[in-house]
Amino acid sequence: MKPLTDEQKTNTQTFHEPQLVETNPDFEVRSLDTICVNESHLQHQWYHNLKYVAAGMLLGIIFVKAEVVSWFRIQEMFRLQSFHMYGIIGSAVMVGALSVWLIKRFNIKTIYGETIEFHPKTFNKGQIIGGVLFGLGWAMTGACPGPLYAQIGTGATVIAMTLLSAIVGTWVYGYFRDKLPH
């Protein structure tokens, strides 16, 4: 086989380079996001998703009965007038952390026998800038995304406008993402 000429070499390089740039889906989907990742590699029929409806219903009932989705409770939290929300978030994190530790310690599998995966998050400036912006909105609406869905469920139909606006906000972020500091 003849050795490659210089021209051929550059051709192979230019051919490979864009491919290398493109094959970084991890940055796109994973490293800037805490979520939005389907860890399961199994393919299921749609009705397997009904179990997530059940899990969501449990959360929705807790949200309403513990008044987590109450605008008033959020105001009390940010004015340090009540321990309620701090108690909820604090104990939720403790139980969550203990569960994650147990899953890792005893290598607990999913109900389909898959190994449970965790992905570390990487720091970027978005967590600071976006975090503060999110906090401003949280204190105004008295709701983070989960409670928005729950508030509509309690009959406050006008919150559908707030949710729609939050979806628009998500879209606008996606549109300007490359120009924003990260």
């Binding site: 997530y52 009965k65 978005g126 967590q127 975090g131 906090g135 401003l136 509509i152 707030t162 606006s165």
Partner: protein, 187 residues
């Protein structure tokens, strides 16, 4: 039983139950608890508009949309069948402060004096609902997650970036509730 469930639940009941959603989703199908990404999936499915951020196989993440559907249904069921019908007990300082702005109805979880279709077209209503909602959606995605993804899931897995994000959520909330919101509510 129904009567007992209909009382407001204490934090030490609700908090651990919310914490258990983390292992529940992991064990049900290797899913990380997170809610704000549902809005990204809605964008990706309805209006991707060729934006790179929305070009992914959202159908693989469809569990999240079932999950938020469940949150809506759960809230609906709790309101229909587990509602004691009593107004919320609000801290007296907050009640006093809100009365100055004409917010006196504590019957719903959402104050009807602020969040209503009639108010949607006023400046105050627009700021509270539309601008507030926009900040929630924009900020959550910019931060890479919301209270569930960062504060609950992220802290449960001991992630430093999530701690930073959670602290910033609180900073933003404190600024708004104590310094900016009073100006908006006076409108």
């Amino acid at each position: 039983m129904i009567e007992w469930l209909s009382q407001p639940w204490a934090w030490y009941v609700a908090g651990p139950l919310i914490g258990l959603i983390v292992p529940l989703l992991l064990i049900l199908g290797n899913k990380s608890f997170g809610i704000s990404s549902s809005m990204r999936h809605i964008c990706a499915s309805c209006a991707p508009a060729g934006i790179k951020f929305f070009k992914y196989d959202w159908k693989k993440e469809v569990w999240n949309l079932f999950f938020i559907g469940g949150i809506f249904l759960g809230a609906l069921l709790a309101t229909l069948f587990l509602d004691a019908g009593k107004p919320l007990v609000v801290h007296e300082d907050l009640a006093k402060e809100l009365a100055e702005y004409g917010i006196t109805n504590f019957n719903g979880l959402v104050p009807s004096d602020l969040f209503s279709w009639e108010n949607a077209l006023t400046l105050k209503g627009f700021l509270m609902m539309i601008v507030g909602g926009f900040l929630v959606g924009f900020g959550a995605r910019y931060a890479g997650g919301c209270t569930s993804g960062h504060a609950i899931m992220g802290l449960s897995t001991l992630q430093l970036p999530s701690l930073i994000a959670t602290v910033c959520f609180m900073v933003g909330g404190f600024l708004m509730a104590n310094f900016i919101l009073p100006l908006i509510l006076k409108l």
